[in-house]
Amino acid sequence: MTQKAKIITDIEIKRMLYRLGHQVLEKNLNSSEIVLIGIQTRGAYIAQRLKKIIQEIDGIDIPLGVLDITLYRDDLTTIGPKPIVKETKIAFDIKGKTVILIDDVLFTGRTVRAALDEIMDFGRPKKVELLVLIDRGHRELPIRADFVGKNIPTAEGEMVEVKLQEIDNKEEVIIAEK
Protein backbone atom coordinates (compact mmCIF):
# COMPACT_ATOMS: atom_id res chain seq x y z
CA MET A 1 0.00 0.00 0.00
CA THR A 2 1.41 3.34 -1.02
CA GLN A 3 0.49 6.73 0.27
CA LYS A 4 -0.68 9.07 -2.45
CA ALA A 5 -1.48 12.25 -0.60
CA LYS A 6 -1.88 13.73 2.82
CA ILE A 7 -5.15 15.55 2.55
CA ILE A 8 -5.91 16.76 6.05
CA THR A 9 -3.52 17.95 8.75
CA ASP A 10 -3.70 17.79 12.52
CA ILE A 11 -4.88 21.37 12.95
CA GLU A 12 -7.63 20.82 10.41
CA ILE A 13 -8.85 17.73 12.26
CA LYS A 14 -8.98 19.73 15.46
CA ARG A 15 -11.01 22.55 13.94
CA MET A 16 -13.30 20.10 12.19
CA LEU A 17 -14.10 18.39 15.47
CA TYR A 18 -14.91 21.70 17.14
CA ARG A 19 -17.22 22.57 14.26
CA LEU A 20 -18.89 19.15 14.50
CA GLY A 21 -19.33 19.60 18.24
CA HIS A 22 -21.09 22.92 17.64
CA GLN A 23 -23.26 21.45 14.91
CA VAL A 24 -24.39 18.58 17.10
CA LEU A 25 -25.42 21.03 19.82
CA GLU A 26 -27.02 23.39 17.35
CA LYS A 27 -29.22 20.65 16.01
CA ASN A 28 -30.00 19.15 19.43
CA LEU A 29 -30.89 22.07 21.66
CA ASN A 30 -31.89 19.77 24.50
CA SER A 31 -28.39 18.46 25.13
CA SER A 32 -29.50 16.22 27.99
CA GLU A 33 -30.98 13.89 25.40
CA ILE A 34 -27.72 13.34 23.55
CA VAL A 35 -25.58 10.24 23.93
CA LEU A 36 -22.44 9.51 21.94
CA ILE A 37 -21.58 6.05 20.61
CA GLY A 38 -18.30 5.53 18.80
CA ILE A 39 -17.63 2.60 16.49
CA GLN A 40 -14.43 0.72 17.31
CA THR A 41 -11.64 1.60 16.82
CA ARG A 42 -11.15 5.14 15.57
CA GLY A 43 -14.78 6.17 15.89
CA ALA A 44 -14.45 5.46 19.61
CA TYR A 45 -11.51 7.87 19.93
CA ILE A 46 -13.30 10.55 17.93
CA ALA A 47 -16.31 10.12 20.22
CA GLN A 48 -14.08 10.60 23.25
CA ARG A 49 -12.76 13.84 21.84
CA LEU A 50 -16.23 15.10 20.97
CA LYS A 51 -17.38 14.42 24.48
CA LYS A 52 -14.63 16.71 25.77
CA ILE A 53 -15.38 19.37 23.19
CA ILE A 54 -19.10 19.38 23.99
CA GLN A 55 -18.25 19.61 27.67
CA GLU A 56 -16.06 22.62 26.92
CA ILE A 57 -18.74 24.35 24.87
CA ASP A 58 -21.82 23.54 26.89
CA GLY A 59 -20.53 22.39 30.27
CA ILE A 60 -22.47 19.16 30.14
CA ASP A 61 -21.22 15.63 30.63
CA ILE A 62 -22.61 13.48 27.83
CA PRO A 63 -22.77 9.67 28.19
CA LEU A 64 -20.26 7.89 25.98
CA GLY A 65 -20.39 4.33 24.69
CA VAL A 66 -18.34 2.19 22.33
CA LEU A 67 -19.59 -0.34 19.83
CA ASP A 68 -17.80 -3.20 18.10
CA ILE A 69 -19.85 -4.24 15.10
CA THR A 70 -17.86 -7.35 14.11
CA LEU A 71 -20.56 -9.81 15.15
CA TYR A 72 -23.15 -7.90 13.13
CA ARG A 73 -21.18 -7.85 9.89
CA ASP A 74 -22.85 -9.23 6.77
CA ASP A 75 -19.66 -10.79 5.40
CA LEU A 76 -18.44 -12.85 8.37
CA THR A 77 -18.47 -16.15 6.54
CA THR A 78 -16.95 -14.86 3.32
CA ILE A 79 -14.00 -13.09 4.90
CA GLY A 80 -13.41 -15.68 7.60
CA PRO A 81 -13.65 -14.94 11.32
CA LYS A 82 -12.21 -11.77 12.74
CA PRO A 83 -10.19 -13.07 15.64
CA ILE A 84 -10.41 -9.73 17.35
CA VAL A 85 -13.75 -8.58 18.67
CA LYS A 86 -13.20 -5.44 20.68
CA GLU A 87 -15.23 -4.20 23.58
CA THR A 88 -18.82 -3.08 23.26
CA LYS A 89 -19.80 -0.96 26.21
CA ILE A 90 -23.00 1.02 26.43
CA ALA A 91 -23.43 1.48 30.15
CA PHE A 92 -26.54 3.64 29.95
CA ASP A 93 -30.10 3.32 28.72
CA ILE A 94 -30.51 4.58 25.16
CA LYS A 95 -34.29 4.48 25.26
CA GLY A 96 -35.69 7.86 24.23
CA LYS A 97 -32.22 9.32 23.62
CA THR A 98 -30.70 10.93 20.56
CA VAL A 99 -27.79 8.68 19.68
CA ILE A 100 -24.95 10.35 17.84
CA LEU A 101 -23.27 7.43 16.09
CA ILE A 102 -19.66 8.23 15.30
CA ASP A 103 -17.16 6.73 12.86
CA ASP A 104 -14.01 7.92 11.15
CA VAL A 105 -14.77 7.16 7.50
CA LEU A 106 -18.13 6.61 5.80
CA PHE A 107 -17.68 4.40 2.74
CA THR A 108 -20.09 1.61 1.70
CA GLY A 109 -22.44 2.18 4.62
CA ARG A 110 -22.30 -1.47 5.66
CA THR A 111 -20.58 -0.74 8.95
CA VAL A 112 -23.29 1.78 9.78
CA ARG A 113 -26.00 -0.74 8.88
CA ALA A 114 -24.42 -3.23 11.30
CA ALA A 115 -24.07 -0.55 13.98
CA LEU A 116 -27.73 0.44 13.64
CA ASP A 117 -28.82 -3.17 14.09
CA GLU A 118 -26.66 -3.53 17.16
CA ILE A 119 -27.90 -0.26 18.68
CA MET A 120 -31.51 -1.39 18.23
CA ASP A 121 -30.67 -4.51 20.25
CA PHE A 122 -29.72 -2.24 23.13
CA GLY A 123 -33.02 -0.37 23.14
CA ARG A 124 -35.19 2.03 21.18
CA PRO A 125 -33.57 5.42 20.83
CA LYS A 126 -35.62 8.47 19.92
CA LYS A 127 -33.41 8.94 16.89
CA VAL A 128 -29.97 8.12 15.61
CA GLU A 129 -27.78 10.67 13.85
CA LEU A 130 -24.59 9.78 12.06
CA LEU A 131 -21.38 11.77 12.46
CA VAL A 132 -18.28 10.97 10.41
CA LEU A 133 -14.96 12.67 10.00
CA ILE A 134 -14.68 11.77 6.31
CA ASP A 135 -17.34 10.86 3.76
CA ARG A 136 -15.60 9.31 0.79
CA GLY A 137 -18.66 8.22 -1.19
CA HIS A 138 -19.35 4.85 -2.90
CA ARG A 139 -22.36 3.92 -0.80
CA GLU A 140 -23.82 0.43 -1.25
CA LEU A 141 -26.80 1.08 1.03
CA PRO A 142 -29.22 3.98 1.39
CA ILE A 143 -27.35 5.63 4.27
CA ARG A 144 -26.17 9.21 4.71
CA ALA A 145 -24.41 11.16 7.40
CA ASP A 146 -25.99 14.01 9.39
CA PHE A 147 -22.66 15.58 10.32
CA VAL A 148 -19.62 15.39 8.06
CA GLY A 149 -16.11 16.67 8.77
CA LYS A 150 -15.17 16.67 5.11
CA ASN A 151 -16.39 15.16 1.86
CA ILE A 152 -13.55 13.62 -0.10
CA PRO A 153 -14.27 12.24 -3.56
CA THR A 154 -12.24 9.10 -4.13
CA ALA A 155 -11.78 6.29 -6.61
CA GLU A 156 -13.09 2.96 -5.40
CA GLY A 157 -9.68 1.30 -5.28
CA GLU A 158 -8.24 4.03 -3.12
CA MET A 159 -8.20 3.93 0.66
CA VAL A 160 -8.78 6.77 3.04
CA GLU A 161 -6.98 6.40 6.33
CA VAL A 162 -7.59 8.49 9.38
CA LYS A 163 -4.63 8.48 11.75
CA LEU A 164 -5.19 9.56 15.30
CA GLN A 165 -2.66 10.39 17.96
CA GLU A 166 -4.20 7.96 20.46
CA ILE A 167 -3.33 4.85 18.46
CA ASP A 168 -1.30 5.88 15.42
CA ASN A 169 1.04 8.36 17.07
CA LYS A 170 0.24 10.87 14.38
CA GLU A 171 -2.66 13.01 13.39
CA GLU A 172 -3.63 13.19 9.72
CA VAL A 173 -5.85 11.87 6.96
CA ILE A 174 -4.20 10.30 3.94
CA ILE A 175 -5.27 8.77 0.66
CA ALA A 176 -3.47 5.56 -0.20
CA GLU A 177 -3.56 3.07 -3.01
CA LYS A 178 -3.71 -0.68 -2.49
Binding site: L71, I79, G80, P83, I84, D117, E118, D121, F122
Partner: protein, 310 residues
Amino acid sequence: MEKWSKKHLLGIKDLSRREIDIILELSASFKEISKREVKKVPALRGKTIVNIFFENSTRTRMSFELAAKRLSADVVNFQSSASSLNKGETIVDTIKTLEAYHPDIMVIRISSPAALYLLQKYTKASIVNCGDGKNEHPTQALLDMFTVKEKLGTLENLNVLIVGDVLHSRVARSNIFGFQKYGAKITVCGPTTMIPYDFENMGVDITYDFDTAIKKADVIIMLRIQNERLKSSFFPTIREYVDKFSLTEERYKLRKKNALILHPGPVNWDVEISSALKEKVHPLILEQAENGLAVRMGVLYLVGTEKRSL
Protein backbone atom coordinates in the same frame (compact mmCIF):
# COMPACT_ATOMS: atom_id res chain seq x y z
CA MET B 1 -5.35 -8.95 10.17
CA GLU B 2 -4.86 -12.29 11.82
CA LYS B 3 -6.84 -15.25 10.55
CA TRP B 4 -8.17 -18.25 12.39
CA SER B 5 -7.42 -21.38 10.38
CA LYS B 6 -8.62 -24.35 12.45
CA LYS B 7 -11.71 -26.06 11.18
CA HIS B 8 -12.23 -28.20 14.28
CA LEU B 9 -11.55 -27.96 17.97
CA LEU B 10 -10.58 -31.49 18.89
CA GLY B 11 -8.18 -30.87 21.74
CA ILE B 12 -6.00 -28.34 23.50
CA LYS B 13 -2.99 -30.40 22.49
CA ASP B 14 -3.40 -29.28 18.85
CA LEU B 15 -3.69 -25.58 19.65
CA SER B 16 -0.85 -23.09 19.58
CA ARG B 17 -0.40 -20.62 22.37
CA ARG B 18 -1.47 -17.83 20.04
CA GLU B 19 -4.67 -19.71 19.18
CA ILE B 20 -5.51 -20.11 22.86
CA ASP B 21 -4.86 -16.39 23.34
CA ILE B 22 -7.28 -15.59 20.53
CA ILE B 23 -10.03 -17.73 22.07
CA LEU B 24 -9.51 -16.19 25.50
CA GLU B 25 -9.50 -12.63 24.19
CA LEU B 26 -12.64 -13.24 22.17
CA SER B 27 -14.36 -14.86 25.12
CA ALA B 28 -13.82 -11.71 27.16
CA SER B 29 -15.83 -9.79 24.55
CA PHE B 30 -18.48 -12.50 24.42
CA LYS B 31 -18.95 -12.48 28.18
CA GLU B 32 -20.43 -9.00 27.91
CA ILE B 33 -23.14 -10.14 25.48
CA SER B 34 -24.79 -12.28 28.15
CA LYS B 35 -25.25 -9.17 30.30
CA ARG B 36 -27.14 -7.23 27.63
CA GLU B 37 -30.87 -6.83 27.57
CA VAL B 38 -31.02 -8.57 24.21
CA LYS B 39 -28.63 -11.46 24.80
CA LYS B 40 -28.11 -12.29 21.17
CA VAL B 41 -25.87 -11.29 18.29
CA PRO B 42 -26.33 -12.34 14.65
CA ALA B 43 -22.83 -13.75 14.08
CA LEU B 44 -23.94 -17.33 13.30
CA ARG B 45 -27.33 -16.57 11.82
CA GLY B 46 -28.37 -19.26 9.38
CA LYS B 47 -25.89 -21.80 10.73
CA THR B 48 -27.03 -25.15 12.07
CA ILE B 49 -25.37 -26.71 15.07
CA VAL B 50 -26.02 -30.27 16.20
CA ASN B 51 -25.15 -31.21 19.75
CA ILE B 52 -24.44 -34.92 19.69
CA PHE B 53 -24.14 -36.62 23.04
CA PHE B 54 -23.24 -40.28 23.08
CA GLU B 55 -22.64 -39.82 26.80
CA ASN B 56 -24.96 -38.13 29.26
CA SER B 57 -24.49 -34.49 29.95
CA THR B 58 -26.78 -31.79 31.16
CA ARG B 59 -24.67 -28.79 32.02
CA THR B 60 -22.17 -28.91 29.18
CA ARG B 61 -24.96 -29.48 26.70
CA MET B 62 -26.96 -26.58 28.08
CA SER B 63 -23.93 -24.36 28.01
CA PHE B 64 -23.23 -25.22 24.35
CA GLU B 65 -26.87 -24.88 23.42
CA LEU B 66 -27.14 -21.45 25.00
CA ALA B 67 -23.85 -20.36 23.47
CA ALA B 68 -25.13 -21.33 20.02
CA LYS B 69 -28.44 -19.58 20.56
CA ARG B 70 -26.81 -16.38 21.75
CA LEU B 71 -24.93 -16.34 18.45
CA SER B 72 -28.24 -16.83 16.56
CA ALA B 73 -27.45 -20.32 15.28
CA ASP B 74 -30.15 -22.98 15.02
CA VAL B 75 -29.52 -25.84 17.42
CA VAL B 76 -30.77 -29.37 17.67
CA ASN B 77 -29.79 -31.90 20.28
CA PHE B 78 -29.13 -35.56 19.80
CA GLN B 79 -28.93 -37.63 22.97
CA SER B 80 -28.00 -41.23 22.44
CA SER B 81 -30.04 -42.64 25.30
CA ALA B 82 -33.14 -41.30 23.59
CA SER B 83 -32.12 -42.28 20.13
CA SER B 84 -31.59 -44.94 17.59
CA LEU B 85 -28.31 -46.16 19.10
CA ASN B 86 -30.61 -48.31 21.17
CA LYS B 87 -31.95 -49.69 17.93
CA GLY B 88 -28.49 -50.81 16.89
CA GLU B 89 -27.41 -47.89 14.72
CA THR B 90 -23.64 -47.43 14.82
CA ILE B 91 -21.97 -44.18 15.74
CA VAL B 92 -20.67 -43.72 12.22
CA ASP B 93 -24.17 -44.27 10.83
CA THR B 94 -25.52 -41.72 13.25
CA ILE B 95 -23.00 -39.12 12.08
CA LYS B 96 -23.77 -39.93 8.45
CA THR B 97 -27.49 -39.57 9.09
CA LEU B 98 -27.06 -36.23 10.84
CA GLU B 99 -24.75 -35.12 8.03
CA ALA B 100 -27.73 -35.46 5.69
CA TYR B 101 -29.18 -32.36 7.37
CA HIS B 102 -26.10 -30.31 6.37
CA PRO B 103 -25.09 -29.03 9.79
CA ASP B 104 -22.27 -26.49 10.02
CA ILE B 105 -20.97 -27.54 13.41
CA MET B 106 -21.20 -30.82 15.30
CA VAL B 107 -20.57 -30.56 19.02
CA ILE B 108 -19.78 -34.10 20.11
CA ARG B 109 -19.35 -35.95 23.40
CA ILE B 110 -18.35 -39.55 23.08
CA SER B 111 -16.89 -42.15 25.41
CA SER B 112 -14.10 -43.46 23.21
CA PRO B 113 -10.92 -41.40 23.23
CA ALA B 114 -9.93 -39.86 19.92
CA ALA B 115 -12.99 -41.25 18.09
CA LEU B 116 -13.49 -37.73 16.77
CA TYR B 117 -10.42 -38.01 14.59
CA LEU B 118 -12.20 -40.85 12.83
CA LEU B 119 -15.62 -39.21 12.71
CA GLN B 120 -14.38 -36.08 10.97
CA LYS B 121 -14.07 -38.17 7.81
CA TYR B 122 -17.83 -38.56 7.69
CA THR B 123 -18.92 -34.96 7.90
CA LYS B 124 -18.21 -31.63 6.26
CA ALA B 125 -19.15 -29.88 9.49
CA SER B 126 -16.68 -28.50 11.98
CA ILE B 127 -16.35 -30.74 15.02
CA VAL B 128 -16.08 -29.35 18.52
CA ASN B 129 -15.03 -31.84 21.16
CA CYS B 130 -16.91 -31.55 24.41
CA GLY B 131 -15.42 -34.62 26.00
CA ASP B 132 -14.01 -37.71 24.32
CA GLY B 133 -13.53 -40.41 26.91
CA LYS B 134 -10.38 -39.98 28.95
CA ASN B 135 -8.73 -37.92 26.22
CA GLU B 136 -9.72 -34.26 26.27
CA HIS B 137 -12.38 -31.77 27.25
CA PRO B 138 -10.95 -28.66 25.61
CA THR B 139 -13.67 -26.11 26.43
CA GLN B 140 -13.44 -26.99 30.14
CA ALA B 141 -9.71 -26.27 30.11
CA LEU B 142 -10.28 -23.07 28.14
CA LEU B 143 -12.82 -21.85 30.67
CA ASP B 144 -10.47 -22.74 33.52
CA MET B 145 -7.69 -20.79 31.83
CA PHE B 146 -10.04 -17.91 31.11
CA THR B 147 -11.04 -17.77 34.77
CA VAL B 148 -7.43 -17.86 35.93
CA LYS B 149 -6.39 -15.14 33.50
CA GLU B 150 -9.29 -12.97 34.56
CA LYS B 151 -8.59 -13.40 38.27
CA LEU B 152 -4.79 -13.48 38.38
CA GLY B 153 -4.15 -11.29 35.33
CA THR B 154 -1.74 -13.78 33.78
CA LEU B 155 -1.25 -17.38 32.76
CA GLU B 156 2.53 -17.25 32.79
CA ASN B 157 4.61 -19.67 34.84
CA LEU B 158 1.97 -20.67 37.36
CA ASN B 159 2.06 -23.54 39.80
CA VAL B 160 -1.01 -25.59 38.99
CA LEU B 161 -2.15 -28.40 41.25
CA ILE B 162 -4.72 -30.91 40.01
CA VAL B 163 -6.33 -33.07 42.69
CA GLY B 164 -8.47 -36.18 42.47
CA ASP B 165 -9.23 -38.86 39.90
CA VAL B 166 -6.59 -37.82 37.40
CA LEU B 167 -6.63 -41.21 35.68
CA HIS B 168 -10.13 -40.88 34.30
CA SER B 169 -10.03 -37.15 33.85
CA ARG B 170 -10.12 -35.52 30.44
CA VAL B 171 -10.36 -32.21 32.27
CA ALA B 172 -6.96 -32.87 33.84
CA ARG B 173 -5.36 -33.76 30.50
CA SER B 174 -6.71 -30.73 28.67
CA ASN B 175 -5.64 -28.44 31.50
CA ILE B 176 -2.16 -29.96 31.55
CA PHE B 177 -1.75 -29.36 27.80
CA GLY B 178 -3.11 -25.84 28.13
CA PHE B 179 -1.29 -24.52 31.16
CA GLN B 180 2.00 -26.10 30.06
CA LYS B 181 1.94 -23.95 26.94
CA TYR B 182 2.30 -20.97 29.27
CA GLY B 183 5.19 -22.43 31.20
CA ALA B 184 3.19 -23.77 34.12
CA LYS B 185 4.61 -26.27 36.54
CA ILE B 186 1.91 -28.88 36.97
CA THR B 187 1.52 -31.22 39.90
CA VAL B 188 -1.12 -33.92 40.08
CA CYS B 189 -2.25 -35.38 43.36
CA GLY B 190 -4.62 -38.24 44.18
CA PRO B 191 -4.89 -41.87 45.26
CA THR B 192 -2.12 -44.02 43.77
CA THR B 193 -4.73 -46.00 41.84
CA MET B 194 -5.94 -42.84 40.15
CA ILE B 195 -2.65 -41.34 39.00
CA PRO B 196 -1.32 -42.61 35.66
CA TYR B 197 2.43 -43.18 35.85
CA ASP B 198 3.00 -42.05 32.28
CA PHE B 199 2.10 -38.52 33.29
CA GLU B 200 5.73 -38.16 34.35
CA ASN B 201 6.55 -38.31 30.65
CA MET B 202 4.34 -35.27 30.13
CA GLY B 203 6.56 -33.29 32.48
CA VAL B 204 4.08 -33.42 35.31
CA ASP B 205 5.05 -33.88 38.96
CA ILE B 206 3.23 -36.58 40.88
CA THR B 207 2.54 -36.39 44.58
CA TYR B 208 0.30 -38.10 47.10
CA ASP B 209 0.80 -35.40 49.70
CA PHE B 210 -1.90 -32.74 49.30
CA ASP B 211 -0.85 -30.84 52.44
CA THR B 212 2.60 -30.08 51.07
CA ALA B 213 1.56 -29.51 47.47
CA ILE B 214 -1.17 -27.02 48.29
CA LYS B 215 1.28 -24.61 49.88
CA LYS B 216 2.94 -23.58 46.64
CA ALA B 217 0.02 -23.78 44.23
CA ASP B 218 -1.33 -20.67 42.50
CA VAL B 219 -4.22 -22.61 41.02
CA ILE B 220 -5.85 -25.68 42.56
CA ILE B 221 -8.14 -27.65 40.29
CA MET B 222 -10.32 -30.07 42.24
CA LEU B 223 -11.60 -32.80 39.94
CA ARG B 224 -15.05 -34.20 40.32
CA ILE B 225 -15.34 -37.75 41.60
CA GLN B 226 -17.82 -39.49 39.32
CA ASN B 227 -20.41 -41.44 41.25
CA GLU B 228 -19.85 -44.61 39.27
CA ARG B 229 -16.20 -44.63 40.34
CA LEU B 230 -17.09 -44.75 44.00
CA LYS B 231 -17.90 -48.42 43.69
CA SER B 232 -14.96 -49.29 41.46
CA SER B 233 -11.79 -50.98 42.60
CA PHE B 234 -9.77 -47.84 41.84
CA PHE B 235 -11.38 -46.01 44.69
CA PRO B 236 -10.41 -46.18 48.34
CA THR B 237 -13.20 -45.74 50.87
CA ILE B 238 -14.76 -42.29 50.92
CA ARG B 239 -13.43 -41.72 54.39
CA GLU B 240 -9.89 -42.46 53.28
CA TYR B 241 -10.29 -40.26 50.20
CA VAL B 242 -11.62 -37.35 52.24
CA ASP B 243 -8.88 -37.79 54.79
CA LYS B 244 -6.13 -37.50 52.20
CA PHE B 245 -7.50 -35.57 49.21
CA SER B 246 -10.49 -33.50 50.20
CA LEU B 247 -10.10 -29.74 50.43
CA THR B 248 -10.86 -29.29 54.10
CA GLU B 249 -10.84 -26.12 56.18
CA GLU B 250 -7.42 -27.04 57.57
CA ARG B 251 -5.93 -27.54 54.13
CA TYR B 252 -7.60 -24.38 52.85
CA LYS B 253 -5.61 -22.44 55.44
CA LEU B 254 -2.37 -23.83 54.03
CA ARG B 255 -2.91 -22.36 50.58
CA LYS B 256 -1.17 -19.29 49.19
CA LYS B 257 -3.14 -16.16 49.87
CA ASN B 258 -4.34 -15.55 46.31
CA ALA B 259 -4.59 -19.17 45.23
CA LEU B 260 -7.67 -19.96 43.14
CA ILE B 261 -9.82 -23.01 43.81
CA LEU B 262 -11.44 -24.33 40.63
CA HIS B 263 -13.87 -27.19 40.15
CA PRO B 264 -15.68 -28.24 36.97
CA GLY B 265 -18.90 -28.65 38.97
CA PRO B 266 -21.16 -29.83 40.30
CA VAL B 267 -19.29 -30.30 43.56
CA ASN B 268 -19.84 -33.37 45.73
CA TRP B 269 -19.67 -31.41 48.97
CA ASP B 270 -17.70 -33.12 51.71
CA VAL B 271 -16.05 -35.37 49.16
CA GLU B 272 -13.88 -33.12 46.96
CA ILE B 273 -14.43 -30.00 49.04
CA SER B 274 -15.69 -29.56 52.60
CA SER B 275 -19.14 -28.00 52.76
CA ALA B 276 -17.78 -25.66 55.45
CA LEU B 277 -15.89 -23.90 52.64
CA LYS B 278 -18.96 -23.43 50.51
CA GLU B 279 -19.26 -19.69 51.00
CA LYS B 280 -15.60 -19.17 50.24
CA VAL B 281 -15.15 -21.33 47.16
CA HIS B 282 -18.56 -21.66 45.54
CA PRO B 283 -18.79 -18.15 44.02
CA LEU B 284 -15.73 -18.72 41.82
CA ILE B 285 -16.97 -22.16 40.77
CA LEU B 286 -20.25 -20.60 39.69
CA GLU B 287 -18.35 -17.92 37.81
CA GLN B 288 -16.58 -20.72 35.97
CA ALA B 289 -19.97 -21.76 34.62
CA GLU B 290 -20.59 -18.21 33.42
CA ASN B 291 -17.16 -18.12 31.79
CA GLY B 292 -17.83 -21.50 30.19
CA LEU B 293 -20.69 -19.98 28.24
CA ALA B 294 -18.48 -17.13 27.01
CA VAL B 295 -15.67 -19.48 26.01
CA ARG B 296 -18.06 -21.77 24.11
CA MET B 297 -19.45 -18.78 22.27
CA GLY B 298 -15.90 -17.87 21.32
CA VAL B 299 -15.14 -21.36 20.04
CA LEU B 300 -18.38 -21.72 18.07
CA TYR B 301 -17.84 -18.30 16.53
CA LEU B 302 -14.33 -19.15 15.39
CA VAL B 303 -15.06 -22.54 13.86
CA GLY B 304 -18.49 -21.42 12.63
CA THR B 305 -17.22 -18.51 10.60
CA GLU B 306 -14.05 -20.20 9.45
CA LYS B 307 -13.70 -19.58 5.75
CA ARG B 308 -14.44 -22.69 3.69
CA SER B 309 -13.62 -23.51 0.16
CA LEU B 310 -16.91 -24.97 -0.93
